[in-house]
Homo-oligomer: 633 residues x 2
């Protein structure tokens, strides 16, 4: 019901969204899917534990990710440390640019995110001050729209103009200044070697490019992958489980020839059709539309086949986990959102009670990262394409005559040599012509800050034909990056529903997890407390363990209806009730339908359904229905 | 061969050990099992990446750990953050005690572990100075034996006495001082909230005890488990892959009634027999001996059944991974190694080229951790045992009369009240007797530092019989803690061997991983480069992917023998060679024997062997042998 309200509602009705969220979050916390970390010490904002069922869901999601991406695509998985030396993150740009703007309460020193304060102020004005003049309404709406693009100075000016003060004390605030979001530490005992907890796992892959390329037989394309913890020291974490200070990322770096971004398996995704939200549609104020992936590529909406292939694979991944495909869209980055080097970028956004949430980013980052690390480390991170037969290539050769230049320019010789060598083709050919016709030429040497005269005999300039055996280039990288915690949280919201108890006096919570994701695959209940049934339950439990099926026995004397309700709340797909000496009933969570199965077949039936070889409907056809529902149901 | 030398050698022949280690480590690094992290930036001591095959081995080991422990025992797995606030690690003792003693080069500031310098000095003297007088030999040997027990002052004195200087510069050294091995950071932007990267995963479980106990239906015993990264900012990492600054731990905290440490499944391990090294045998200078686990318990060598159960399960875990049971021993901690609160502690030690290495610690930590967090947080971390019927218990009741005490002692009233309430039974009964007979009694109040006179009417003391419905107690915890990286490294050494190539001109490297551990389960080779065979290889690859079997295709024109050698070096158990249009050969890595199998049966045969349903011998019985070995083999 709440969901119906939610999905029919474009986002305006925040009260219902919050009621729904509270119902989900209460269930999640009560059943230990999540626990605020270090709770007995009052916790730390932005840190959460996964309790037993949450941890099992996470393990299932990661196992499926490995299967769906690493195994299916033969990716090279690596596992790098979280502690990262400064030089790596200097090269990647994180040390200089991974910042949020912060303001401080000038008296207490409390810190706030500058954009949050401005956002809250504008929103409150718009919501509460109904007498606001039209121009002001327009102004506040404009500020909200461009919030992410405001510079430090612009943010500071707005905060001053609007007279925004510290929300807790009403004290004046400092000007905004950048706060680096990396957790900083020190490696080793000397205190001089700065390190950071990695903000993403990708850099560990980039710095290993050379070895991985070699491992792959010096062939492109190939993909490397990594699952691991990443860290972000948020100024003031909000949005509960969506914005946390430590989280699990699963990242893929697919390295490809920039001149050939086709994909071998592109045909497998070409007919998928789902909600896409191209840049142009966003600018025009339209909604996301269903587009066939193949059309998006042929119409030039998605930049290339490889990018499209991963968009398609991400769609399959998320929907197989149980994400509602009507509340999943792929949104293209606007020009101003995208880094200058990026060729194209799409986010898989999932709608939940917080609105549309970015859960997977799929970016064509071109050669940016490899170039940055090549430059900083001095180790060329490049690929080679061997030509079938050598190609003839004309090459400019500039050979300064060091002896002659030395005699003429003495101590300045080196700088003149360097300037000559740095000439581009046009400059060099002009000089060649001038030297041949006039015997000399005026030449500006930047590093000396003056013009010198170059005479013939001081430099030899020629064009030589050379046979090249290979092309050397920096690969482009296409990066699908998965925020595992966000995906799981959205999955919880999409899987949650409430239904009335049989007596109608209670609302019961259910998670409709697919078996793939379900933290526990089945429960085993003796119908009544007696030794015979408990022994049979034990026996079934052992055969389930033997089949590697995670399950839970509940031998409490609680009514069977209550036990079903408990297990529905954990999203357990099947419940086995031992109610005779030879056979049991198996109940499916969502339909509440039951079948009767012999005891020695139980484990294999559960295995078939939970491992996906058969559906519940298949199984129902093979086994008799059990209709005598118990009193409690 | 090297292994034979190694295992027949008690530890003296360090040269052969190092040759062997070099052969293993070279292979591991060349095939990217490991990569020194951030290699293009010259790396960081003590940080390593797992490259593709290493990462796959690690994933397999962790999956098996989950199966063998979490699933089989229905443990509650949790997943807590690495970033930990100071208060938690203050309570656990890590802020004050997780230190190593360090000395600094007084001129350059370079840091060294004090015990390392002393150890190196003594070892070098003993090895190189053959003219050393007997007393000196005895002294240096003694120092080596007690190294771990030396205090900061004792270490400093020895370093001064022996004139030990900085190994790099020969400069004088500072006195030893403690260096905390936790990576420190700051949580949030204010800079006032200190955090550390966790040194172990256990604390995340302890602080959640209350919730987990509730989740388990308020029943003991139960176990919680966690797999995750832990951090240790080593002063100067040595021993390559064994002592690193970031590593994966897998920890179990089994909570049990201190009055009943029996284990439900104890019978399953009671007949296991393996190398144990009890405290007494170590003190007597003996070797580890094979002991039946049941005997170790009944003879009082192992403290209790639960501890023994886990020792047995750890033995099964390690040997199933491929650890050689002749080079695995369980060593009991000596009295001086064990924390004062520990009831008993055993390390699973694996012998490798570095000697015996602690890989798993199995400790009965009694109630220490839960008590520490109860005290610090004020939240009682206790269990309850409900009595079948209420028990009658005599309880001392001391009731100070606050009004009377106030009139008499004014501002000191509160301290007198507290002192009265703090009396033990004996003191209270004496006072009761005295007040009844004499009407008053002299009473020493520590907090006031003086004696006061207590008169009858100021306090009522009585013994009351009370019905108790439950017993409240702090559970003991038995903790098996696995250093996953160390286990994997030892596994690499135990799995490695060399054999001659067929031509006899080359030594080839092989890892004899069991299929469970093998990073890649099989390889697919077209015998010669032609379209038909390559297409068949692709087809086989697809059916392997469909069966979730990790594999690798090698379509290079390299000789089949070289391709076998490459794959043996990665420890791939089976190699499929496509040499006809209808059937292929499957070759087993260690025996090099081959069978012939129809193409459409290949995937199921590989699945059977690699998932452990059949052995290679079983399969050999069912399929014809293929004897025409190729020229290269």
């Amino acid at each position: 019901q709440l969901q119906a309200i939610l999905s029919s509602d474009g986002g305006g009705n925040s009260l219902n969204r919050e009621t729904f969220r509270q119902a989900v979050v209460n269930t999640l916390e009560r059943r230990l899917f999540y626990i605020p970390s270090f709770k007995i010490y009052r916790g730390v904002a932005g840190l959460y534990d996964y309790g037993p069922p949450g941890c099992a869901v996470k393990a299932n999601v990661l196992a499926f990710w490995r299967q769906h991406f690493v195994l299916k695509e033969n990716m090279l998985e690596v596992d790098c440390p979280c502690v990262t030396p400064e030089v790596v993150l200097k090269a990647s740009g994180h040390v200089d640019k991974f910042t949020d703007l912060m303001v401080k309460d000038e008296k207490t020193g409390m810190c706030y995110r500058a954009d949050h304060l401005l956002k809250d102020f504008c929103k409150e004005k718009l919501e509460k001050d109904l007498s606001l003049p039209v121009e002001q309404v327009a102004e506040f709406k404009h500020v909200l729209a461009v919030l992410d693009d405001l510079s430090s100075e612009q943010l500071g000016a707005k905060i001053k103009d609007y007279g925004i003060t510290s929300p807790d004390t009403k004290n004046p605030l400092s000007d905004p200044y950048p706060f680096n979001l990396m957790f900083q530490t020190s490696i080793g005992p000397s205190g001089v070697s700065t390190g950071y907890m990695r903000p993403e796992t990708a850099q560990g892959i980039f710095v290993n490019f050379k070895d991985l390329y070699y491992y792959n037989g010096n062939k492109l394309p190939f993909a490397a992958a990594q699952i691991g913890q990443a860290f972000r020291n948020e100024i003031s974490p909000r949005q509960g489980l969506l914005r946390v200070r430590e989280f699990t990322l699963a990242e893929i770096e697919h390295f490809v020839d920039p001149d050939d971004k086709s994909h071998r398996k592109y045909e497998e995704v070409v007919n998928l059709e789902f909600l896409m939200f191209p840049r142009e549609e966003q600018m025009a104020g339209n909604q996301a539309k269903k587009i066939r992936l193949g059309d998006a590529v042929s119409r030039g909406i998605v930049n290339n086949e490889t990018l499209a292939y991963f968009i398609g694979r991400v769609y399959l991944f998320l929907t197989r986990l149980g994400i509602d495909k009507e509340r999943l869209r792929f949104r293209q980055h606007l020009a101003n959102e995208m880094a200058h080097y990026a060729a194209d970028c799409w986010d898989a956004e999932i709608e939940c009670s917080y609105g549309w949430v970015e859960c997977v980013g799929i970016a064509d980052r071109s050669a940016y990262d490899l170039n940055a690390h090549s430059e900083k480390s001095g180790v060329p991170l490049v690929a080679h394409e061997k030509f079938q037969e050598p190609k003839e290539i004309e090459k400019l050769v500039i050979a300064p005559m060091k002896k002659e230049l030395g005699l003429e320019f003495k101590g300045n010789q080196k700088k003149v040599v360097e300037a000559l060598e740095a000439m581009n083709e046009k400059e060099a050919m002009e000089m060649k012509a001038s030297l041949e016709s006039k015997g000399e030429m005026e030449f500006h040497v930047c590093t000396l800050g003056k013009v010198v005269t170059i005479k013939s005999g001081m430099v030899s300039i020629s064009k030589e034909k050379k046979k090249e055996h290979q092309r050397v280039f920096t690969p482009s990288v296409i990066e699908p990056s998965f925020g595992i915690g966000r995906i799981i949280y959205c999955l919880f919201e999409h899987s949650f529903y409430m239904r009335s108890s049989k007596a109608g006096n209670e609302q019961l919570n259910v998670f409709r997890f697919p078996p793939l994701v379900a933290p526990i695959k089945c429960t085993v209940f003796p119908l009544v407390q007696n030794q015979e049934y408990e022994k049979l339950a034990e026996q079934i439990s052992e055969s389930l363990t033997g089949n590697m099926i995670s399950h839970k026995i509940d031998v409490t004397g609680t009514s069977i209806g209550k036990r079903y309700a408990r297990t529905d709340e954990l999203g357990v797909p099947l419940a086995i009730t031992v109610d005779s000496a030879s056979s049991v009933t198996i109940r499916e969570r969502d339909s509440k339908e039951q079948i009767r199965v012999e005891i020695d077949e139980v484990a294999s039936v559960v295995k078939e359904v939970t491992e996906g070889q058969s559906t519940w409907a298949d199984i129902q056809r093979r086994y008799p229905a059990h209709s005598s529902t118990t009193v409690d149901e």
